[in-house]
């Protein structure tokens, strides 16, 4: 395997690892608000890593004389557009959910509650 393939594989598995961390996080955290930390956040990093890996793999043998590789470059830019969309949309959705929870009045978990 070439060096690009190694970089792609490492980035991809890092992304999958952070996705798994997010999933374990929303299972382990004690209350709703801290679950949000694990959910929306590791996902931002994980999607970025995995999608950058895929976009990099798509342009692995770029030849500027071929139309096909320019088309591959376009598809890679499209994959990067997904990342931009995720960066604008995910925090907005997280913020909406958090605000709804606060308005409804779900109590946050606090440290002294455990000592009682």
């Amino acid at each position: 395997m070439s060096i690009v393939s190694w970089v792609v594989a490492v980035l991809l598995f890092l992304g999958v690892f952070f996705f798994a961390i997010g999933a374990i996080g929303i299972l382990r955290f004690p209350d709703f608000y801290s679950r949000l930390h694990a959910a929306g956040k590791c996902d931002a990093l994980a999607s970025t890593l995995a999608l950058v890996a895929i976009a990099l793999f798509n342009v692995r043998d770029f030849d500027w004389t071929l139309f096909q590789s320019w088309d591959n470059l376009r598809v890679s830019l499209k994959i990067l557009l997904i990342i931009l969309f995720v960066y604008v949309a995910t925090p907005a959705a997280t913020h909406a959910i958090t605000k709804a929870a606060f308005i409804v009045g779900i109590e946050p978990w606090e440290k002294r509650k455990r000592n009682r």
């Binding site: 952070f18 961390i21 374990i24 996080g25 382990r28 955290f29 004690p30 209350d31 608000y33 801290s34 949000l36 930390h37 694990a38 929306g40 956040k41 590791c42 931002a44 990093l45 970025t48 088309d71 376009r74 598809v75 830019l77 499209k78 557009l81 960066y87 604008v88 995910t90 925090p91 907005a92 997280t94 913020h95 958090t98 605000k99 606060f102 946050p108 978990w109 606090e110 440290k111 455990r114």
Partner: protein, 159 residues
Amino acid sequence: MARIVTFFIMLVFWVLISGMFDAFHLGVGVICCLLVAIFSHDLLFYGHPDLLWVRDIFKVLAYFPWLFYQIVLSSLEITYIVLHPRMLEIIDPRLVRFRTRLRNTMARVTLAQSITLTPGTITVNMSGNEFTVYALTQKAAEGLPGEMETRIARALERE
């Protein structure tokens, strides 16, 4: 002016997603961009855009790598917390309130989104210049708003 700028942004986006460069598809693309520019130009821009927004876009793009670096740092911290066996002793959730000195609405929203995007902190409410932030650990709560506000002020505030 806003219509023209929206039209060209949409045209770039169309060429990026379309990938067909024959006359028919390009013509339909121009028509579609015109439709979106006529109907939605007041959604993309608040008032009248001036030529400075080109400079602003590059400044925001220069802000992104730093934001990504912060996201990586705090994601590693969250990873440590998640995988720690006695997690409940480490976390200490709390609400933090602070006032920002950013005046531009766009800059304020960018700050709020960046805070939410960085692991460990979530923007709960933003009314006027007062932010309410829910932080997971004490360390994350103390780091607010910090360097992020300075950098956003450099990128998006114009005097």
